[in-house]
Subunit: 197 residues, 4 copies
DNA sequence: TATGAATGAGAATTCATTCAT
DNA sequence: CATGAATGAATTCTCATTCAT
C-alpha cells in the first residue's frame, strides 16, 4: 500500500528542504536539490506543493504548529502566571534551540520579504502572540503582573526579547544551548512585569 | 557641478533602491528598475556599486550610520542612564518610524539570509548593541540599574523589544506613529532594569 | 457488459477529447484533463491509445469516416451529377455544422503541423477528394459539367470553397447554421462547373 | 552605430524562425534553436519579441503585409474586374509559391489554434478578403460579374480555392510551380462569377 | 483491465553583468 | 563617466508516459 509512503514523502521533502534552505538560503536552494536530498524526482515535489514558496510556508506551519500546540499544552500544567511565563520562555527557547537548521528557517529565511512576513504574522504568529497575551492578562487579574501594562504590548515585548535571543543564538555560532538563556530572560521580563513595590 | 552630481548620483541610486526594494522586495527588484527610477542607465549602477548586493549593503550602512551617530550624539546630552535609555528608545523608534520604505529595508529586506545577516551583525549592529550596553553598564555603576544584570544580555533584550516594535509597526499598516510607543517601551524596560526594591 | 463498456470507454475518451481540445487547443489540453472528463484514470487512456497524438488521429478518423460513408451513401441516391454535387455540399456543411466542438477539431486543431497534415491528407482526405472527383468525372461524361475541367483540380476547388465556409463559420461566432450556405455554395460552384453557353 | 544592426537583427531572427518553424513545426522549435540560427543569444530574442508566440505573429504580419500591399498595388494597374481577379490570383499564388518555408508558416503553422486563428482572421485576413470583395463589387457594378452574387460570400469562395491550392501545393511535395495553377483557377472562378448567358 | 503516484526530460524566460561606443 | 544592447547561465514547473499494485 501507499499507506506509509504518502505522509512520509511529504515529510521527507520538508525535512530535506529544511536542511538545504538552512545551508544555502531559500533563493540559492533549487527545487532540484531538495528533491535530490529527499530522494524523489523533481516533479514529485509538485505533487505535494503547489510551488517552491509553498514548501517554505509549510515549513513555517509545521514549526509554528508546535509552538502553539506545545505552548497551549504547557500552559495548562501550571496555574500561576509567572510560572506560565517561565514555561513559555523555556519552551520557546527549547523548541528553537533543539534544531539549528529549523531555527535558521524560522528566524531568518522565513522573513525574507514583506509579502511573506505578512502572511505569516497574520495567521499563526498572531495566535502565538495572543497566547502570550492571555498569560499576561491572567497574571494581571490575579495581581501577579502590573495592571497598568497593555497586555498586547507586553506580549510583543516578550516575544521581541525571545526572538532576539533566538536570532542572536543563530548568528553567534558558539556552541551554547539556547535554553540556558531562559533564566536570564525570565528574570528580566519578570522584573518588567511584576507589580512595582 | 560635476563633482556634486557624482555624489548625488550614488545617493539617487540608493534612494531609488529603497523605494523599489521596499515595494517589491529585494529579489523581485531588478537592477534595471532601480536604474530607471534613479534616471540612470543600467550600466551606470555598476560604476557606483560592485553588484546588486552591494546596493543593499550600502543601504544598510547609510541607515545604521545614522543610528550610531545620532545615538552617540544623543547620549552625550544627558548624564543619567535612565534618561539615556529613554533617548535611545525615542531615537530608535523615531528613526525607524520616519521613513516607512527605509524601515522595510531595515526590518525585512536586510534580513534575507544568514549570510547577509552575518555580515550585518558582525559589523554595525554589534556596535549599536555595544552602545546600548555601555548605557547599561554606566547605569549599573551609578546604581541606577540592577547590578546583577549581564549588560550584554540586557542590550540584546532592549534591542529585541525595539526591533519587535519596529517590525510590528511595519506589518500593521495602521497609520500610527511608531514613536508613540516610546513611553510604553521605556516603562517596560525601565521596570526590568531598575534595582528591585 | 464488459464488452460494451470497453467500446464505450474508448468513445467516452474521444468525446472528452473533442470537448477539451476544442476549448483549449490540442497543446493546452493535458491527457489528465481528458481522462478526468472521460471519468477514467490517466493511465487508462494508454490502454486505448498509444499516445496523445493517437487520440487526435482517432478523432480525425472517426469524423472523416462519416464524411466518406455518408458521402458515398448519399451519392447512391441520385443519378444526376449536379444533384450529387448538391448533396455533397449539403452533407459536408451539415456534418461540419452539427457539432461546433468537433468542427473546431476538424477545421483547426487537426491542422497543427505539416507532419500531421501530411498523414491526414495522404489517407482519408485523399479519398474524400476522390469521391468529389468522381462526381465531376461522371458529370463530364454525361455532359452535365464542362469537359475541359481537370476533375482533380475541380475537386480541390470544390473542397476549398467548402472548407473555407466551414472555417469561416467557426471563426465568426455568429449563431447561423452552416447548412444555410449550401444554396449559395451550390450556385457558385454549379456556375463554375456547368458547360458554358 | 547600431543603426543597421537593429533592424537587421529583428529581421534575422524572423528569417531564422521561418526556417526552423517550417522544418520542425512551431511547437518542436525551441527559442534556443531560432537564436542559434539567427546568430544571437537566447536572451536577445526577448529584446525584440515579448515571447515565442510573438515571433509567429510577427511572421504573419510581415507576410500578410505583402499580400495586402502588393494586392492593392496590383489592382491599381488594371481597370477591368476580371483582369483584377486574374491579377489577384496570380499574385496570391506567386507570393505563396515563391518561398516554401514561408508558405508552410502561412498555410499550416499559423493555424494551429483557434485562439491564434481568431487573432489573425480578425485583423489582416479580413482586410485581404475585403480587397477581394471590392473587386467583386466593382465587377458587378460594371456588369462584368453576376449581380445576384453576395460579394462577401464570393470573396470567401475565391479565397477558399486559392487557399486550398496553396495548401495542396505544400503537401504535394512535387516540384511544380504554384503559379502554374493560376490559369485553371481563374477559368474556374471566372466561370462562376461571370453573368450567365 | 484499471489505477494514479511517480518520473524526469525539456523549454521558456529572466536578469545581473559586461563592454564597445 | 555614461550608456544600454547584448549576453547566456540558471531554474522553475509541466506533463506525457510508465508501472507496481
Amino acid at each position: 500500500m501507499a499507506r506509509s509512503s504518502d505522509g512520509n514523502k511529504k515529510e521527507r521533502i520538508m525535512d530535506a528542504a529544511v536542511v538545504e534552505i538552512a545551508h544555502r538560503g531559500y533563493h540559492q536552494t533549487t527545487v532540484a536539490r531538495i528533491a535530490k536530498r529527499a530522494g524523489v524526482a523533481d516533479g514529485t515535489i509538485y505533487l505535494y506543493f503547489k510551488n517552491k514558496e509553498e514548501i517554505l510556508f509549510s515549513l513555517f506551519d509545521r514549526a509554528m504548529g508546535r509552538f502553539i500546540d506545545e505552548g497551549r499544552a504547557s500552559l495548562e500544567k501550571s496555574s500561576e502566571a509567572p510560572e506560565k511565563l517561565r514555561r513559555i520562555i523555556e519552551l520557546h527557547l527549547t523548541l528553537v534551540g533543539e534544531d539549528r537548521d529549523q531555527a535558521i528557517i524560522t528566524q531568518v529565511e522565513l522573513r525574507h520579504s514583506l509579502h511573506f512576513m505578512d502572511q505569516l504574522s497574520r495567521a499563526q504568529v498572531g495566535e502565538y502572540l495572543s497566547i502570550i497575551g492571555q498569560v499576561v492578562v491572567q497574571g494581571q487579574q490575579k495581581g501577579e503582573f502590573r495592571a497598568e501594562l497593555d497586555p498586547v504590548f507586553a506580549a510583543k515585548a516578550i516575544f521581541g526579547v525571545l526572538d532576539e535571543m533566538a536570532t542572536d543564538w543563530i548568528l553567534s555560532r558558539r556552541n551554547t544551548r539556547l535554553e540556558s538563556k531562559a533564566g536570564a530572560v525570565f528574570d528580566f521580563l519578570w522584573a518588567g512585569l511584576k507589580p512595582s513595590c
